[in-house]
């Protein structure tokens, strides 16, 4: 199946289901497609054994867009984001149905190499997880793995560039040979971001990247996300609505495995269409 610009998105139904959780044919409110999509997903269902975690979610990630995913705990946003670079493959009981395409290529097809996919779709995890190696080796690992630099000086340049873009260079340039695990939490998370961007991905997935960080480190990461969106498409899962409002252009609201509403961030936070979205952002539950 080829996705072309001529595919006109289906018109969205305006009648909003009041009970999306019991409606098997629930249609997300808002524009799920993106005119300039880096990644498209259609009718994604995810099962863990007998339990279904994601119901029929379709959502595109636009190029150079920051897409925030919010929702109460257990709503499936982390599961969904992990489908986008097939991190769920490592879980035996996990079964994924649907159509997920990166630049038109089906990432779950036989032809898709999962190593290449993960190089093109980088990931930053909830808990900073630097390798127990030096700062330099942490960033250089992926570069060496994929053979992106044939010379030592080229590698040095890539590492320096990645650390600079992650806003960490000034803090670690004099201790590149120190263990990455010895940095502070916020520095570790930026190191993980540097590690992800060192291999020049097209999309960066961030799974609650600031949940383990203090407000100052969080502010730095948010600044960084802003900066990174000039070059990359970013998907960020977050529990903090303020953070979603600050960094993203589009916001998707998940609830119990269903994508309830998607829209421009300012609209979602000021004038949500669905009562569940409204309930969540106004703090009535979540």
């Amino acid at each position: 199946m080829n996705q072309t610009a001529s595919d006109i998105p289906e018109p969205i139904e305006r009648n909003i289901s009041e009970d999306p959780l019991n409606d098997p044919n629930y249609k997300t409110v808002g524009e799920v497609t993106s005119p300039n999509a880096a990644m498209t997903t259609k009718n994604v269902n995810v099962h863990y054994g007998n339990k279904q975690a994601i119901f029929n979610v379709s959502l595109d990630v636009g190029k150079n867009e920051v897409l925030a995913m919010i929702g109460p705990s257990g709503c499936g946003k982390s599961t969904f984001i992990r489908c986008l670079n097939r991190m769920n493959d490592t879980i035996d009981a996990c079964r994924i149905e649907g159509d997920i395409r990166l630049e038109g290529e089906d990432i779950y097809s036989r032809n898709m190499d999962v190593v290449l996919l993960r190089a093109r779709v980088g990931m930053v995890f909830q808990k900073p997880n630097p390798f127990p190696k030096s700062v330099y080796d942490n960033v250089a690992y992926g570069v060496n793995l994929h053979g992106l630099s044939s010379t030592k000086s080229g590698l040095d340049d890539i590492v320096e560039d990645a650390l600079k873009r992650a806003g960490l260079w000034d803090e670690v340039s004099d201790r590149l040979d120190q263990p990455g695990t010895g940095l502070s939490g916020g520095q570790q998370q930026r190191l993980c971001i540097a590690r992800a961007i060192a291999i020049s991905p097209e999309i960066i997935l961030m799974d609650e990247p600031c949940s383990a960080l203090d407000p100052i480190a969080t502010a730095k990461i948010e600044e960084l996300i802003d900066e990174l969106s000039k070059r990359y498409s970013i998907c960020i899962v977050t529990h903090s609505m303020q953070q979603a409002a600050r960094v993203s252009q589009r916001t998707a609201y998940f609830h119990l495995g269903k994508l309830i509403e998607v829209g421009a961030t300012d609209i979602i936070f000021t004038n949500p269409s669905h009562r569940l979205t409204e309930g969540y952002i106004t703090g009535r539950f979540g």
Binding site: R118, V124, K127, P132, L145, T181
Partner: protein, 422 residues
């Protein structure tokens, strides 16, 4: 009553329980240490004397007539050395005239002394035609007497060393012609029926080759099996079955593994008997479950975030394991290997079954030469009737313990090298 008072009332009981528990723990440790000290202490007290060996000085006259032919190396090595020694002893103790007395006299010196004499004469042909004082290896009974382990008060018929021999020994002692010096033979000789000539090096080499084979087989196979089961195999009935079987195998008595080795390696593949290669293979089979179980535990203890991090930057599953998980799990795997190898090193039963209990004098030079192992040597010596083997048994135990400490030390060093913190 308010909560604070309620808590107060129970406090004394809680502290008593705590004290009691501490006392139990302390008692357990004292018992454990006590047994250990007792074991090591008795072993050392019994064994340290094996480090010394008695020698007797005898004036030995060697004549041309003791040799046939031209006195060249060939002729010298064929000389009648037992005759030379006996003649010299008779000259030293002319009072021994009867046949029985003479035989008793000859028994003061080890039957191995002739070979030492031979070596010296071949090395230095000038000794022929002269009278020289040689320190000859004493018989084991003389050695035991010199170490004070034979009580002359015991009735003569109850001991192998007779009164006459004791009188001679005392005479030699008064003349300063008997001495004890470092027992180098114990560390350079293979096994022997004569305790004074028996050495440990054959068993040490046998153990070295056996453990080497065990380590080279069990560690890579065990680690590879653990990695596959823990990191790659899907969880299903088949892998569950394998897991249950591995856990059960770890508890199978070692003699069963010995019989398995006998049936497969010796009877089916017709490999030679008594060789450390087969011993090592049998012990590897026995050690595998231990290594697999502990390696899996070590792999399981590596935080999943490290795997995700590696997969997230596009490492393949094998790269993830080899670059990140394995180095972090290595210390734990090595701990399991220590336990497995220590167990294998002390294992006797399976080696008996595959023939490593044979009496082998030659020192094995490769895993393909027949040999024995330290625990089997201990078993053989402990089973021998000669008094002098008692101290050698203890000395062999000390060598085995040193060997164990050396292997553990090596692996602890390796573990330190791999240990990383995250």
């Amino acid at each position: 009553m308010n909560p604070a008072a309620l808590i107060q009332r129970g406090l004394a009981r809680r502290y008593r329980a705590e004290k009691r528990f501490k006392a139990y723990g302390l008692t357990a440790i004292v018992c454990g240490v006590g047994f250990l000290v007792f074991l090591l202490g008795t072993t050392f007290l019994n064994g340290y004397t094996a480090l010394l060996q008695t020698y007797i000085a005898v004036d030995i006259s060697i004549f041309d007539s003791d040799f046939d032919g031209d006195l060249g190396p060939e002729s010298l090595s064929k000389g009648d050395y037992p005759g030379i020694i006996k003649r010299s002893l008779r000259e030293a103790f002319p009072e021994a005239t009867k046949r029985r007395e003479k035989n008793e006299l000859y028994r003061l010196v080890s039957s191995g002394a002739q070979y030492e004499l031979l070596e010296k004469v071949v090395e230095n042909p000038d000794l022929v035609g002269k009278t020289t004082t040689f320190w000859l290896l004493a018989d084991d009974e003389v050695d035991v007497y010199m170490k004070g382990r034979i009580d002359p008060a015991v009735p003569e018929k109850n001991r192998r060393l007779k009164d006459r021999s004791i009188a001679w020994i005392e005479q030699l002692r008064n003349q300063d012609r008997i001495k004890r010096s470092f027992n180098i033979l114990f560390f350079t000789n293979g096994d022997s029926r004569e305790p004074e000539q028996a050495g440990i090096i054959g068993a040490v080499m046998g153990s070295v080759f056996t453990i080497l084979v065990t380590m080279l087989l069990a560690f890579p196979i065990g680690v590879a099996a653990a990695i596959y089961l823990q990191e790659f195999a899907r969880k299903n009935r088949f892998t569950d079955l394998i897991e249950v079987n591995i856990n059960n195998l770890a508890a199978v008595p070692s003699i069963i593994f010995g019989l398995l080795g006998l049936a497969i390696f010796l009877n089916f593949f017709h490999m030679p008997r008594s060789i450390p290669l087969v011993g090592g293979m049998v012990l590897a089979l026995m050690t595998l479950p231990t290594i697999i179980i502990s390696s899996r535990a070590a792999l399981g203890a590596v935080p999943p975030s490290i795997r995700e991090a590696a997969l997230g930057v596009g490492a393949s599953p094998v790269q993830t394991v080899l670059h990140h998980v394995l180095p972090l799990a290595m210390p734990g795997m090595l701990t399991g290997t220590i336990i497995g190898l220590a167990q294998a090193l002390g294992e006797t039963a399976p080696l008996l079954v595959i023939g490593m209990v044979a009496f082998i004098v030659d020192i094995p030079g490769s895993p393909m030469d027949p040999g024995t192992a330290l625990p089997v040597q201990i078993y053989l010596w402990a089973d021998s009737p000669e008094r002098a083997f008692v101290e050698r048994t203890s000395a062999a135990i000390m060598v085995l313990l040193l060997f164990l400490v050396a292997i553990n030390g090596l692996i602890v060093l390796l573990r330190k090298k791999f240990e990383r913190h995250w």
